[in-house]
């Protein structure tokens, strides 16, 4: 490719036709209280990890809800699961469960056993050596 000295900037527009909301649907199934979130940001204000890093839980769950999953798992690793967000949430959203399940879904592991979904599937099909 020829070098032009610049690249085409990525748009910030959300294209609902191209979005793949399968992970969001799964999360809502596992943590139904997520539907109550009003995006007030109380969770982020109370967050212990946010005091030491640029971890921003509101930003993360907003991106997740918009099916913009890129880089989220790496950011979620910063959470210490202290649960302060859970205490301050005015809508009673189970935020800690939300974080755990986001990581499970992003890493494609079974929500109960934490085993990779593929391994579980092959076991059910009788193809596993386990």
């Amino acid at each position: 490719m020829k070098k032009f000295g610049f690249e085409i900037s990525k748009g910030r527009q959300l294209n609902f036709d191209e979005m793949k909301p399968d992970k969001v649907e799964k999360l809502l199934e596992l943590v139904p209280s997520y539907k109550l979130c009003i995006g007030c940001g109380g969770c982020t204000a109370a967050c212990s990890a946010a005091g030491f890093t640029d971890y921003n839980f509101r930003k993360i769950h907003t991106a997740f809800f918009r099916a913009q999953y890129e880089g989220l798992d790496e950011q979620l690793k910063r959470c210490m699961l202290c649960g302060k967000c859970l205490l301050v949430c005015p809508r009673g959203v189970n935020t800690r469960s939300l974080i755990i399940n986001m990581r499970r879904i992003l890493n494609n592991v079974d929500p109960v056993t934490w085993r990779p979904q593929r391994e579980l599937k092959s076991k059910n099909e009788g193809g596993s050596n386990e």
Binding site: G5, S9, K10
Partner: protein, 352 residues
């Protein structure tokens, strides 16, 4: 009632005796366009138009990039008006949409603040010992072609119809932002229902495509483009438009702004090189024409005299669809008749 409502979307366009001002971009990148416009007005419509050799830039690009201060632009505009006054004309016709916006802005400011007008007169006098009158009418050349579109139609050799299918050609029209978005009442159809190019297309047999990003910027945007590192924003805008128009499979794009013609044409090459993507099915790109080139083509002017070989996206496939006669051997022939060197072929954008 409906008729009265639409009246608000019309503008006054002078009938005759125009003072023409050339465009920096148009005469550089589309050198046949302005000559074609003058020929159409003089030879086809029998109008009087003055093409003064002492004209100069309006400073528009520098002004909108915050490089040239307001007072300088105001004085430069005053000098251009003084040329018109000197030649005895009152109807100003700037070829460039940016200039059209700059002149409209200056006149609006002078009307609202007479002190500024006095300042402009003083600066011009101190710098050049010249005086000027404010034009009675400012019209873009596309307004004039639009006004006389039905007078030109009987003289045309071709129509915007696909000769193989008999169906109207599908055309994307793009109006420059500075034509009607800054001062909406100065554009035909205002910014809401831009009709200056759509009117030409419909009158000459084509079909206008109304696609989602029809009113989006072409990606020029002056300061967004000037610094090389920022051009990613500029091209992202153009890409957004192309993505939006792609499903409608346009036969060509028609523009009235020289900047838009340049960006919509040349960014197709850049996007093709960067992403191996073209927005037509066969990989040739979508031809971009100025309204002068389109009018000239339909009137039967030689495409190579109109300068169509200088476009990035080549138009032969469009000529074939309409049935326009052209000689491929003369494509790169200079004025003296000698063959000029052929440009390199792009790697990703196909050419015949």
């Amino acid at each position: 009632m409906e008729k009265r409502f639409w009246n608000e979307y019309q503008k006054e366009i002078a009938d005759d005796h125009y003072f023409y001002e050339r465009s920096c971009i148009r005469q550089t990148f589309f050198p046949g366009s302005e000559a074609a416009f003058l020929r159409i007005l003089r030879d086809e419509l029998g109008k009087d138009i003055c093409d003064n050799p002492h004209q100069h830039t309006c400073t528009g690009i520098g002004y909108h990039s915050d490089v040239v201060p307001f007072e300088t632009t105001m004085t430069v505009v005053a000098r251009l008006f003084s040329l018109m006054t000197e030649c005895g004309y009152e109807n100003y016709v700037p070829s460039c949409v940016t200039s059209f916006g700059v002149f409209s802005e200056m006149i609006e400011k002078w009307e609202n603040d007479p002190k500024l007008l006095e300042q402009a007169r003083q600066y011009l006098w101190e710098a050049t010992k010249r005086e000027f009158k404010i034009p009675k009418n400012i019209a873009h050349p596309s307004d004039i072609i639009y006004k006389f579109r039905f007078d030109l139609k009987p003289k045309m050799k071709y129509q915007l119809v696909n000769r193989f299918t008999g169906k109207p050609l599908r055309v994307v029209e793009h109006i420059g932002c500075h034509y009607a978005k800054i001062f909406p009442d100065r554009g035909v159809g205002k910014a809401e229902f831009p009709y200056v190019l759509a009117g030409m297309i419909e009158a000459w047999g084509g079909e206008v495509i109304d696609y989602p990003e029809r009113r989006h910027c072409c990606g020029f945007g002056f300061r967004q483009y000037l610094v090389q590192e920022n051009r990613g924003y500029s091209i992202a805008n153009t890409k957004k438009k192309f993505q939006s128009m792609e499903p409608y499979e346009p036969d060509f794009i028609l523009t009235n702004c020289p900047g838009c013609s340049m960006f919509l044409d040349k960014w197709q090459y850049t996007i093709a090189e960067m992403e191996h993507k073209t927005y037509d099915k066969e990989g040739y790109g979508i031809p971009v024409l100025t309204y002068e080139e389109l009018t000239g083509l339909l009137l039967g002017y030689d495409p190579w005299k109109l300068g169509l070989q200088l476009h990035q996206v080549q138009s032969e496939r469009l000529f074939n669809k309409i049935g326009i006669a052209y000689n491929p051997d003369e494509k790169y022939k200079g004025i003296s008749g000698r063959l000029l060197p052929r440009p390199d072929r792009p790697e990703c954008l196909r050419q015949d």
